[in-house]
Subunit: 137 residues, 2 copies
Amino acid sequence: VIGILPGVYKAYNSDVTVHVQKSVTEVSPGDFHALVIPGGRSPANLREDKAVVEFVKKFFETGKPTAAICHGPQVLVTAGVIGKRTLTGFPEIEGELTAAGGTFKDVEVLVDGNLVTSRIPGDLPAFSRAVEKLLLR
Amino acid sequence: VIGILPGVYKAYNSDVTVHVQKSVTEVSPGDFHALVIPGGRSPANLREDKAVVEFVKKFFETGKPTAAICHGPQVLVTAGVIGKRTLTGFPEIEGELTAAGGTFKDVEVLVDGNLVTSRIPGDLPAFSRAVEKLLLR
């Protein structure tokens, strides 16, 4: 798991903890086969961190699987990679995804090229399967 | 002051309180001469409220002065009204304003037609003067 600052973080609405092993400033797109951007409140902060945005942009441009769920696609908007993609996300972010040039569809998972997106936690099984499928291509 | 729910709200980082007199669902664009969307953390919530987004869209389309500062322009992005406007905002939201079709400039205030935008609290004097100027046209 990479993030802004290494450390152990507790989820804001549960006891789940996440161990951020490295900062995005310590890694490069070549170190990973896929990028998964989770949702919740973190994308609002991640999208305001220059190093994160730059990493996401560079990673996306490699063409390797890039996945985002719930509010995760907000980071893709700020990274300027939505283009004319067809995608989904948390229903309340439809407006900004559309404004960024994307075509929004209300389905559990959408795969458009290397981009995988889903809406809500309930979509996680379909989301994970889609990412796995791209990795096994 | 209008908002999502009427009530008295305390600012998250100071003792300032704001009295939200009416919900956006109780008012119409014809009730106001101008719309000012402040910044801080509220735009992240405002932009996810359908009634707010609809009101902002309708208000903007009347051509009356519409102003936003700091994170305020995020609501304009979701309302789909940025179009090809030249605007500014909190530096960290530059990416999403650009993705929405806008041209971002790092200046204290920008007036493009009926749209007035500023970056940070320190821009408030110039921001207020620009809104006032539009109102006195």
